[in-house]
Symmetry: C2
Subunit: 397 residues, 2 copies
């Protein structure tokens, strides 16, 4: 396909209706004349937004399309981690097939970019990375997939994992992951030594799962900020979850937010209802980039995720008590521009020159379209229609 | 209609498929032979659950079907209360029309019972009560609506409100409402004197909005428990929201839960993500009845509510970190049996003899059907099909 497309009667971010011209996969203008060599789509007054960005999920281990997994797992984090490692073999969770299922679901729901953490451990080695790489290649015209090498079961506590992380980066993982330097790996300095050494060696960004709450998480966050600055990695480091930013000590939180802003360390939230969470508005007001993600989608950890980033915007809104229309727009921003900046997407947005990664939403206003979460009218990737009325152009395996 | 119905190939709570026979609006048996004088519905393997119970909403002030309300209201509770009173006139929110819209939406989503708090105040008097009474009568064969006379703007702080509350009960409100005895009405003893005096006089239950957090809310809750016992109203009093039960002092929370259980005071939660909330599992384990509700559905308070009680079950699950299948079932129970016990519904459930208020859900297992939240296959009220495939048999105004 040419990547030339004209969409008429669309309302950018809910503003007045206009047409948009896309040439060779990029936005070339608004309100322009019709061209002969372009496909045309009547937007019918739909709201135009940039592609949704699923900035934190786990494509390799969703159970989508598999028989329902009856969850009776124990309450601790380690229960879930150990159960999952066992279930991967017992259930036969195929990372290639499963990641394709979820990525196509995501695309049909408007996501044009996905950052996926992919498990690297001594049980299954690089099978997850290899599977998601296969999907990344297969769906390259449908959705951008960025792979984080993720030591889900711990790194230093499981000898052999560091070498696998190194191999994962060689194979094509684009981001170095990490996980609870103290609570899981029992050695915060040692854990961050490895993570940042890999990042330096491969010239890649970092994204660390930080479930640690309160002062312990804050300490880890300080260490991450210090290294980011020491290594000149400002703008290339994300802390995912960051529950510690929801701790009661508001003076400490304020100091952490200042430090994050200064080091340009990004925050990723899934806006969980049951945990302390990063305060999205305060972070954004301080200039910190905040992205959002689904986390696990129907996996052995829990049954809820559905890969819908409009629903995630609603969750960000509900969790942060966003009620005003401008606040709903802020929640949506975590699911669009926030994630895009985190993923360092080149040419993301609605401006001429940007890549034509777009979604058309039926709705009266932007806020109404977000809260209603109707099937997406159309999803455009690089100027090409990849989903319409909630259905992907590709069939999932 | 006869209220005679046979549904074949249905799975009660996800168990093995059977048929259900309904006679004159009541369940008369399972797996029985076909009768001549009954309509038949092929359940096609759908999961059968009792009707969903929307146990806390505000039918009189939803903005459903009206132009989108651009929300730029201030952050305090009083900002929202005062803005709403003004907007009721400015926007022309018609309680009869609006309550009918929401009640039909609820019914199409599987709710067979609704408890609605309805505003009573000195600005609009009993207009809300009169409007919802009209809808209650009009939809009597579709959904049971129970009306709480609710002093949203305060009672003692707005002279004239007590007399209106009395008139609301005379007009046909079935429950006496209350609101933040200290934080809003500034006189906890005085507020509860009036609420419980009305309840005694009319022989009606009580349902009090208690947003007060921490020790203040706990004090109000103690007062409510004391009066419940003193007046022999065990089983007839609900505390809605009850944010104080999410306070940090766990010993105090444990003592409150014991007191609630002993006085058979019920708890209603909307499972808000941004507030401290009652711990659902601990309450249910202690024998306290826990119901759930949508609270406001797309009103001047906020844009999010959608009247879907399966989604509310998901919110209860997410807020309480319920991940296991048995926990998802517990979340659903707040949206079925919990609300039904709170509303003192006679003959509620799936047992023979119960009123045939039922929902058919497409789904692999009960937990899967809850988290997927698909359009409801069928909704049955008193043995009559009132919605199919997500559509009500009645058209909303």
């Amino acid at each position: 396909m040419s990547g030339n497309l004209i969409m008429t009667n669309v309302r950018p971010m809910g503003a007045d209706a206009t047409s948009i011209t896309i040439t060779k996969g990029r936005i070339t203008g608004y309100g322009e004349a019709v061209r002969d060599d372009a496909d045309t789509l009547d937007g019918d007054g739909a709201i135009l937004i940039p592609g949704l960005v699923e900035a934190h999920t786990h494509l390799d281990k969703t159970l989508l399309g598999m028989p329902w997994y009856h969850n009776d797992v124990g309450p601790r984090l380690i229960d879930k981690i150990e159960n999952e490692r066992a279930q991967k073999r017992l259930l036969g969770i195929d990372p290639a097939r499963q990641s394709e299922r979820q990525a196509l679901l995501s695309s049909s729901l408007g996501s044009t970019h996905i950052r996926s953490h992919v498990d690297v451990d001594t049980d299954l080695g690089l099978a997850g990375i290899e599977g998601v790489l296969e999907t990344r290649e297969k769906l390259r015209d449908i959705v951008d997939i960025e792979i984080v090498a993720f030591p889900q079961s711990g790194m230093l506590v499981r000898p052999g994992t560091v070498a696998l992380m190194d191999q994962a980066m060689k194979l094509g993982a684009q981001v170095v992951g990490g996980l609870d330097p103290s609570a899981i790996d029992r050695d915060p300095k040692g854990h961050l030594d490895v993570v940042f050494e890999l990042a330096e060696r491969y010239g890649r960004p970092v994204d660390i799962h930080l479930h640690e709450t309160g002062e312990l998480g804050a300490f880890s966050m300080e260490l991450i900020v210090e290294r980011t600055k020491a290594l000149g990695m400002q703008g290339h480091v994300t802390v995912s979850h960051a529950f510690c930013l929801g701790m009661p000590d508001q003076d400490y939180v304020a100091a952490l937010i200042d430090a994050l802003a200064e080091a340009r360390v990004h925050i990723l939230t899934t806006a969980p209802a049951f945990k302390s969470v990063p305060p999205v508005k305060r972070l954004m007001d301080a200039g910190v980039v905040v992205g959002a993600g689904s986390d696990g989608v129907r996996d052995t950890w829990g049954p809820y995720g559905n890969a819908d980033m409009l629903e995630r915007a609603v969750f960000v809104g509900l969790r942060n008590n966003f009620r005003r229309d401008d606040e709903v727009a802020m929640a949506l921003e975590t699911c669009t521009h926030g994630g895009a900046r985190m993923m360092e997407c080149e040419g993301y947005g609605l401006e001429p020159g940007c890549s034509a990664d777009l979604v058309l939403l039926d709705g009266e206003t932007l806020a109404e379209a977000v809260v209603a979460r109707r099937p997406r009218k159309a999803v455009i990737k690089s100027g090409r229609i990849v989903a319409q009325d909630g259905k992907s152009i590709m069939t999932a395996p």
